[in-house]
Amino acid sequence: MERKIRAQALLLLMAFVLILSGCNFSSSESGNSEGAKADGGEGEASQVLNISATADIPTLDSTKAHDGVAFTVLNNVNEGLYRQDENHQPIEALVTDHTENEDQTVHTFTLRDSKWSNGEPVTAQDFEYAWKRVMKDASPYNFMFVTASIKNAEAIMNGEADADELGVKAIDEKTLEVTLESANPLLESLLTFPTFLPQNQKFVEEQGDQYALEAENILFNGPFTLTDWTHEQGWNYAKNEDYWDAESVKLDKINAFVVKDPTTGVNLYETNKVDRIDLSSESVDQYKEDPNFDTILEPSMIFLRFNHTHPVLGNKNIRQAINMAIDKESLTDVILKDGSTALNGVVPKGFFQSPEGEDYRDLNGDFNTGSVEDAQKLWETGLKEAGVSDLTVSINISDSDDHKKVAEYLQAQLEDNLPGFKLEIKAVPFAQRLEIEKAIEYDLSLSSWGPDYSDPMTYLDMWVEGGSANRMKYHNPKLDELVAQARVETDLSKRFEMLLDIEKILLEEDAAIVPLYQDGTSILMRDKIKGLIVHPTGASHTYKWASIEE
């Protein structure tokens, strides 16, 4: 009997060891700050950064990447033609020279000497190959090539042309020729987007369907290399000594940990495991006074869509009244408390500057602000014009906590401030909200929009008639025409004026939507971290110029 028990215990133990061996514990030896300090020189801060990520990397294949996590990794381990600087403006990366023909439709880029991590040179063919690969595989971000006006991109997307006909050609190893449909002042800025990164054809084909699935199955040519990637746990970067600009890179190592629960993030920060975390609104009150607390503005904006075919909501006075009846400051500061700020325009604050260096938001100011009395006056006029005495409409929202909080607040505000207004809340899953929106089967819809590239246009051209993101049957021919003109205007100051005017048409003239607020994130970051850049679009972080100073 005793022997039997012992044998069973042994079996159980063996089973445990077997499973334990299949556990893939992550191999990072990073972590506690004592350990990190020990391998740094005396008195000198060790250049190791520990960060958290909200999710695993979905894919490292730059042609297929589609989310912030992957974009950030790719931006730091690879190098394209251009890269975003600290003001999110394009600076030359692999490009040493850029010339264009007279009508600015044929661009010639000369590349510098640089190497992939397997020692092979990075060539113009690598760009041509990767770009055509994006189009061939109908990748999630292939529309970036249309945005960049690259020749035949739209035709290829619609199945009217072959991917090989894309307007990109390697003239020789160091010369890349890009042909556009029409002049595009945003070209360099768009080329910083990770979808435009190069890939080494020979390596990609050798790897076949294993390409980019693990850290070993991808090549690097950026400021860092990935030394390790353990799925769902994290990944480690090391400085790339072969990088063309290795002198500028100060960090030796970066360890990223996948942490999905914000409270866990706080606890890891408290135990010095990570140096930078995002806070959830529950933790904000607790850390508000902490010297390492900070809020950063995000470029996504949350707004209300109107169904412009609705008999009453189609009235401009009604829309304007709804705009004014909402106290947006209380919404962000009392209800949400997550670092977001009230927004009275369609282009968010803090990311987009005129060629003269002035912020778009400051230049255009606030739209449709006014007192409750103003709102009520407009409301009465609007009701009279529409020939009704009261209004009951529903609002289409996602069933997330944030959306519910916002919708309940809007309900209270609008029903209190506008006599006869009744708002019904219809919460559905995110995907369904989107379907309802695309089919325009709503009265009001709570929506959000994030930018695709660093230019106000990404918030403005969506409102043209038939635009795939219009989704509310809004139409103003003046706006359509101005968007078309701005797309080809190459005088940057003139173009910026046009961008300001487009917003005026949308909001001042038509009050077409209700901008509510601009997203924000509250973070904790140890002050020894310097030079970590957060971008509004594409990759969210650049570590190239970051350092640790203690």
């Binding site: 089973a15 893939n24 514990f25 559905v428």
Partner: protein, 309 residues
């Protein structure tokens, strides 16, 4: 016995088939697309993508296609993790889940046994009330609350064990302990009532009358007999642990399967939803089967022919 086994296996396969079918068609009712970045997808792009993944075909055709692949053991590719097969996603992530689950089961069973035995033997004493109170607390407070408390006090304040992440054996302890609370409570309560019942049985009185030592009576007659019904509990407990891991894995950043499951439903990753559902169902069906078999071995009154004993 052989006939019984074959019959059971047959039923198991039918159950699995029904689950696969139901999940497949229910999933089609969910709104949206499995593709990434749905906010920005235009109608043309959607059409191209649907054609590429065969989602433009009638649902019945897709279903037959899926079944065909499934029979060959092919669970397809993930939509969200480009290029990764569902099989590889499950196989790399099942290890951590299984380990903390089994460890929780062992910790919970041992602790529960000890608590249960003490409270039965010291019936109506302060020990009894104490462990009953513990069991009630353990049953009524969800494991994620314990997880948060353990993480804060043991991890942050005392720094005895890692707060989270998956970096060696010590990081498996807190999640396992958090998960084991329900098991401990259930087992303790069960053992206590079973032992109290067995203690009053004739054969216990007989054993004592024969002059057997009390220790032996307890170990040989009482505990052994009280354990039999506990085995039946292990099946449902294993199930509750698997569902418990969904939250625990997220809190402790464990790279397990449970967290992937909820995520795949939220983003409508069809092939991953199907793969994990099939995997979990098969596992549940198997655990129930094994428990039934073990039960038969432990209790000679049960036979597999289905005749009354």
């Amino acid at each position: 016995m052989k006939g019984y086994l074959l019959k059971r296996i047959g039923y198991m396969l039918i159950t699995l088939f029904i689950i696969v079918t139901a999940t497949f068609f229910l999933m089609q009712l969910l709104p949206g697309t499995p593709f990434t970045n749905p906010e920005k997808l235009s109608a043309q792009q959607l059409a191209v993508l649907n054609a590429k993944y065969g989602l433009d075909q009638p649902v019945a055709m897709q279903y037959l296609h899926y079944l065909g692949n499934l029979v060959q053991g092919d669970l397809g590719y993930s939509f969200q993790h480009e290029g990764r097969t569902v099989t590889s996603m499950i196989s790399t992530r099942i290890g951590p889940s299984a380990f903390i689950g089994l460890q929780a089961l062992v910790i919970g069973a041992i602790l529960g046994l000890v608590l249960g035995i003490i409270s039965a033997l010291k019936h109506n004493s302060i020990f009894d009330y104490g462990s009953v109170a513990l069991a009630v607390i353990g049953m009524s407070i969800p494991s994620f609350v314990f997880a948060a408390l353990l993480q804060y006090y043991i991890g942050v304040k005392l720094e005895w064990l890692p707060v989270a992440l998956w970096e060696g054996y010590s990081s498996t302890l807190l999640p396992s302990i958090a998960l084991s609370v329900t098991v401990t409570a259930t087992v303790a309560r069960f053992i206590r009532s079973e032992m109290l019942e067995v203690l009053g049985q004739d054969y216990v009185i007989t054993a004592r009358a024969k002059g057997m030592r009390e220790n032996q009576v307890i170990v040989k007659h009482v505990i052994r007999n009280a354990l039999i019904p506990v085995v039946t509990m292990l099946g449902p407990l294993a199930v509750s642990i698997m569902t418990g891991t969904l939250v625990i894995e997220k809190i402790f950043s464990v790279p397990g399967l449970g967290e992937q499951f909820t995520l795949s439903i939220l983003v409508l990753d069809y092939s991953v939803i199907m793969g994990i559902t099939i995997f979990y169902s098969a596992l549940f069906i198997f655990v129930v089967f094994v428990v039934d078999i073990i039960y038969g071995f432990l209790d000679p009154r049960i036979n597999f022919k289905g005749e009354a004993a």
